[in-house]
Amino acid sequence: MNTPAGPIGQSLPRLEAAEKASGAALYTGDMVLPGMLHGAIVQSPHAHARILGYDLSAALAVPGVRATVTGDDVDYRYMGLVVKDELAIAKGKVRYIGEPVAAVAAVDIETARRAAALIEVRYQPLPAVTAIEEAIKPEAPILHEDFAKYAKIYDAPTNRGNILAHSVATQGDPGKGFAAADVVVEATYQIAAQYHAYMEPVAALAAFDPSGKVTVWSSTQSIFRTQANLHECLGMPMTKIRCIAPRVGGGFGGKSEATVQPIAVLLARKAKAPVRVVLSRVEDMTTMRSRHPGWIRLKTGATRDGKLVARECELWFDGGAYADDSPAVMNFALFFVRGPYDIPNVHCEGYAVYTNKLRAGAFRGFGNPQMSFASECQIDELAKKLGMDPLELRRRNALPKGAKWFGGQEVKETALVEALDTIRERAGWAKPMPPASPGKKRGRGIACMAHSSAFLSTGAIIRLQNDGTIALQVGAVDIGQGSDTALAQMAASAFLLPVEQINLSTPDTDAVPYNSGTNASRVTYMVGKAVGEAAGKVRDQLLEHGAAMLAVKREEVALAEGGRVVVTGGSRRNAEVSFADIAGRSIWAVGGPITGSSGVMAQYLMDQGHTKMSGWLSFEAVGIFTFGAQVVEVEVDEVTGAVEVTRAVCVHDVGRAINPGATIGQIQGGFVQGLGYGLCEEMVWEEGRLANPSFMDYKIPSALEVPAEIECVLIEKPEPSHPFGARGVGEPPLVGAAAAIANAVADAIGKPVRQLPLTPERVLGAMLKP
């Protein structure tokens, strides 16, 4: 399809902006059904314990209580994307402090919470492991005795205790590579657990209809993953599970898999009434998930003239009590072991480990921010040792177009060199910085990043409605990033209509084609691709009907703005027929309703001849790389070690920006989430207990922690494989931000700080170290 005009490239406000500004927008926790009950959970006080029994009598005696649910109400049916190891609610054992072990439904939330506190669970405490080092000891207690029996989609280790994934990959000859290196840098980088901190805590509302079908409204990133998880853990057929996403208050990866939907369904089934479960912030922080903490040992070799020749990496991720996406996140981190650089000889190994803590899972960047922190910091350390400009060292090693990615896929497009040249200019890289404020040290740092935008599968259905407007049905959930608007802009452009004439579906498993989820920076790219394909089919039918109605040849008509098919030449030039009239003909007379559907799959072959891999998930459904660079300036307080980011410049290669304003919003928000990762965000556990489960003690950046301006430059080279030229932008702005900040701090204080986040204590510690 030719790249159409229309609303693409315009910074339109989000379709739902007005309802969100007025407070009318309905999120799951705002929804009320007649007779609806409220659910509250009971959380495990033990990091690891056997459940011996329950005493529910006191809870059930509370007036207004309608149902309780425990592990006795479920079978051993496991759910999960990568490893099926989780039940709807704890049964037999609890594996982390905070794990839901029982739940209550009552007429109001106060009653439900009061009753939940009266449920007595008898436990036999077991020894727990709350750190990777303890979990991998030969005598360590095992979290999942049945691990070997769990269904998995990768080659998992056997008899390795709590190690749930172990992956190895080699490219070239690392031994020879290091032998050829003039300079080698090796260091270990510590990475902390970051909390998603979506502003809307997880929520689900479940209601059974008289046919026995349950409808579940929930704050989710994927209605189809929600449906699959409920199907797996409750044993209900998918014909009886309908999942809908109303407005969603952020996700960032944390709402990709099951949250409280299984508990809401269990309570609704038992109480025979609709049940809404909304977690408090403390409950959300103690029961949901985090970014993977752990450590990365990295070694890089370069020749004297700054050519990277070899890299070695050992990575350990603490996955917490349940696997969730751990093997995939760990593999994805390794997938970016080279960063966006052409390093010919590489060996890497990665591990994901069960511990008795909150599970770690998908989080914006999916392993790449951890790896990029280690890699981009090490590039700077290497530049220092080589006496080279860090930007120039990066530019010299940028992976060229046509080269192979780690894993062997071809990199068909890259704008990394362009991004570096742009940022050199924009950030004034070669010029001196303004002088530091009194008592402060000033530094400047850079980081590059690469990420993917194609992932898994999706579909779209487009229908011409009777009045000539377009119905667009997709399974994508807009979690706030703006995909509804972007997809509507794409469809509107395809038909030369204003966005107001696109009727975008609500995500509903009963009504829309499959979509894997809002993650991996994939919706604009993948779902947009499906929209383009389906739109093409509807356009063909519009033109065919139009030509017949105007009694001209098919080649003589074209779409025109305002919902018309117009004759473009010959004696009948400018004769026209409206979409509404075409719809009428198709419905009442000829051909049947006009509908176009598509199904697309990301497929990019790996090459074992290029990179030898074992213990990996397949990444053949991952591709379309995107690149960027960020420069930050910081001031470090010489007395306290506190770091302030005073300037940020972000240059991202986004393909064609469908909605430039929304694209910049993604970049600014992603950078700031990365700033939090870099400077202040860290979930801290003491003996398995999360010590800071609130916004009081776990600090996300406020308006005072962000630089006065976050300058964004979009490099817009339309992506040739996409009907509208777009690529993903959700994750890249976060991926390198912490590294850019750490490099700026190292520049300011003259020493690297290799531990996230760079708290004042750690920065001061590095400054004071002789």
Binding site: A17, K20, R247
Partner: protein, 159 residues
């Protein structure tokens, strides 16, 4: 027979009599659960994030920390009181136009806070805006477009 205590408040310009089922109920609970005004959001219940910010007698306050029973005679403005989806108020419109709204969950509180700032300081500096909204957490925007939205609102309200 025990009579239910009631209080009288002016809610979004209308005088209302509110029956107190329990004196421990917060303003947020009463607004959301009893009165169906769900624009006021609960994101932390601890007065930290600012999502439940409302105006009480013109001053911004955290609805999750305030016991409704203490508000007899007070005037309360929630996000619903600033405009509607069809006819947004000037600050709401500026947030829409500036592209400041992403997931939107923090936005009612943010818009209330911005409204309060602009009433006391019609032309705030960028730094004054940052300070004024620093108690309202947003995880999506990075605040840049929120600050632009407040500036846009200021330029329209007090040109």
């Amino acid at each position: 027979m025990v009579t239910t205590p009631t209080i009288s408040i002016t809610l979004n310009g209308t005088r209302r009599s509110i029956a107190m089922s329990a004196t421990t109920r917060t303003l947020m609970t009463v607004l959301r659960d009893d009165l169906g005004l769900t624009g006021t959001k609960d994101a932390c219940s601890q007065g930290v994030c600012g999502s439940c910010t409302v105006l009480i007698d013109g001053a911004p306050a955290r609805a999750c920390l305030i016991l409704t029973a203490t508000l007899d005679g007070a005037s309360v403005t929630t996000i619903e009181g600033l405009g509607s989806t069809e006819a947004p108020g000037p600050v709401q419109q500026a947030f829409i136009d500036a592209g400041a709204i992403q997931c939107g969950f923090c936005m009612p509180g943010m818009i209330i806070q911005a409204t309060s700032l602009l009433r006391t300081k019609p032309r705030p500096s960028r730094d004054e805006i940052r300070h004024a909204i620093s108690g309202n957490l947003c995880r999506c925007s990075g605040y840049a477009k929120v600050i632009e939205a407040v500036e846009l609102a200021a330029s329209r309200i007090a040109p």
